[in-house]
């Protein structure tokens, strides 16, 4: 072994170790931020290792440098700008977009190697080696394409650019996807047999498969899908590692792939959904149209902000239930002002965080943290549920399905079995909502009909602003 090889080996080893520590650290609140930086450092280290290896062995042509610099500057710049500019509310779709681009990268590498074989000189042609090469190229293309189109569809759906087309909820979609899957398998084996012309067929059908599989999935399940696609992009990276013969790529890709799978599983558990039903069950709203869940509200009590303020003033314990509506209205800072006033008046305030509140697990935590809500006041569902009977007022802010008692009481409801927050146990529930529209699942919320529930109609931010005014008038929090 010569020096460049040894150096690269040591650097790669170090990078793998740091990446593993990074992933590990990211799963604990205390170490998460450092872990993220550690992983970023490991990634830069791996680039240095690779470049130094080539500099020490074959050298890097000027032409190559130019293209490396162009690619890295453009990619990094766009990535950094997007990461800085994007609002916290669109985090899920941003992750999906990044993820899709990672898949695209693996796809392009495999495509490049397939179209322009790098070192396939006939004299040292090794059948076994070329077979592996072709298999890994095909896997990279297949998984990379699915990751890319799937992620883009997920992003478009979360952004509201794409809705769920009706046909994707019928059985037709399974047939269509099976056709795509079979077609990609055929292309896959044809490609391995050395018929490189089918490569474009593989690219096209696996892209279509990515779209066909993601399109029918409803918004509430999107985080799970993004996590799964994230796992795929790890697999794509690992198979690209086989293509270019890089152990570091294989280890890192396999790690992300496996960790992503575990995370997907954890998320599914939080929603009481199985991965199979997420992937093949279609979206909840489609099933609900026929179930008992849809129906008219009979007993809606609407109330003014003033009444709400009066009740809050008299309370001892208040639980806030935030949801996607809060994120959309960007009302987290206003909410924080309200709760500050209540706290100054000696009222105990906690936030009940449903595992899937918002559009992604952890979404609400991030949002509330942005508004300086102390971490200790955020309570997870299992912790906070026993507290509701002893609570005076619950403020539901833009959450809907996660507080629907149907999930507990109505076995015919599509939501049945999903863990929910038992807000109806509290003495008074205020639901701040723009109108009577259904939640993401499209299901009627029985909570709104209950006698202890009052609706305060309006945009979350506006209502909260009014609430601050009313509380001021009542002298709450003025010291």
């Amino acid at each position: 072994m010569n020096l460049p090889v040894i150096i690269k080996f040591v650097i790669d080893l170090l990078a793998v170790l740091l990446l593993a520590l990074g992933i590990k650290g990211l799963s604990k609140v205390k170490s998460a931020r450092e872990a993220n930086r550690l992983a970023a450092f490991a990634m830069s280290l791996s680039v240095i290792g690779l470049l130094s290896y080539y500099l020490g062995t074959s050298g890097i042509a000027i032409q190559s440098w130019i293209w490396i610099i162009i690619g890295s500057i453009i990619g990094s710049l766009f990535g950094a700008i997007l990461a800085k500019k994007v609002p916290m509310t669109s985090m899920p779709e941003t992750v999906a977009l990044f993820n899709g681009c990672g898949g695209m990268s693996s796809l392009l590498v495999a495509l490049g190697v397939a179209i322009f074989p790098i070192s396939n000189t006939p004299e040292n042609f090794d059948f076994f080696k070329s077979l592996i090469n072709e298999v890994s190229i095909s896997v990279s293309i297949f998984v990379g394409a699915i990751t890319f189109t799937g992620s883009i569809v997920a992003m478009a759906k979360l952004q509201g650019w794409l809705s769920t087309p009706g046909w994707t909820q019928s059985k037709v979609r399974h047939f269509v996807n099976i056709v795509f899957a079979v077609a990609s398998l055929i292309a896959f084996f044809d490609l391995i047999n050395g018929n490189t012309s089918t490569i474009w067929l593989l690219v096209i059908v696996s892209s279509l498969l990515g779209i066909g599989v993601t399109l029918p999935i409803g918004g509430a399940d999107m985080p799970v899908v993004i996590s799964l696609l994230n796992s795929y992009s790890g697999i794509a990276a690992a198979s690209a590692g086989f293509v270019v013969d890089s152990q570091l790529l294989i280890v890192a890709g396999a790690m992300v792939g496996a960790a992503g799978l575990i995370l997907t599983q954890v998320m599914c558990k939080g929603m009481n959904r199985s991965l199979v039903s997420v992937l093949f069950g279609g979206s909840l709203s489609a099933q609900s149209t026929t179930s008992s869940g849809s129906g008219e509200y009979t007993n809606i009590t609407s109330c003014s902000v003033e009444e709400c303020a009066l009740t809050l003033e008299a309370a001892n314990k208040v639980i806030i239930v935030p949801g996607y509506g809060l994120a959309v209205a960007q009302a987290q800072h206003t909410l924080r002002e309200v709760t500050k006033k209540l706290e100054q008046n000696g009222i105990e305030v906690v936030y009940a965080i449903h595992p899937v509140a918002g559009r992604m697990p952890g979404h609400m935590n991030v949002l509330l943290a942005e508004a300086d809500v102390p971490y200790e006041q955020l309570k997870e569902m299992d912790v906070v549920n026993p507290d509701f009977p002893a609570t005076d007022v619950v403020l539901v802010l833009g959450a809907n399905d996660v507080v629907n008692p149907q999930a507990k009481n109505d076995s015919s409801s599509p939501l049945y079995g999903m863990p929910v927050l038992d807000v109806q146990e509290a003495r008074t529930v205020f639901v701040i909502k723009r109108g009577m529209s259904a939640g993401y699942s499209g299901i009627k919320n029985d909570l709104f009909d209950l006698p202890n529930t009052s609706m305060v109609f309006g945009d979350a931010k506006k209502v909260l602003n009014d609430l601050i005014g009313e509380l001021k008038d009542l002298g709450v929090g003025e010291k």
Binding site: S27, A61, S233, Q247, I250, G257, L263
Partner: protein
Amino acid sequence: MSFINLLWVLLLGSLLGLELIGKVPPTLHTPLMSGANAISGITMLAALTLIVKAGGNVPLLIIGSVSLGFALFNVVGGFFVTDRMLAMFNRKPSSKK
């Protein structure tokens, strides 16, 4: 590096990944996903290899460069966005009552 060895690497890497994440608080689901996602941009190494080995083949250089761009978009954006999310958790202790 023989194929069998690479398979071992794949196997051990997967096992490591399975072990790394045991219990994750829901708070960290999004940042963890986003961080892991940034790491999956490690394909930038493959793109780099492609560019270095392309020689004077211009179409291959372009493909490699575009691929590198996509990968770095994923890596740089992913780490920044994760850091942004995590920064929000970290300034908490001061406000403890």
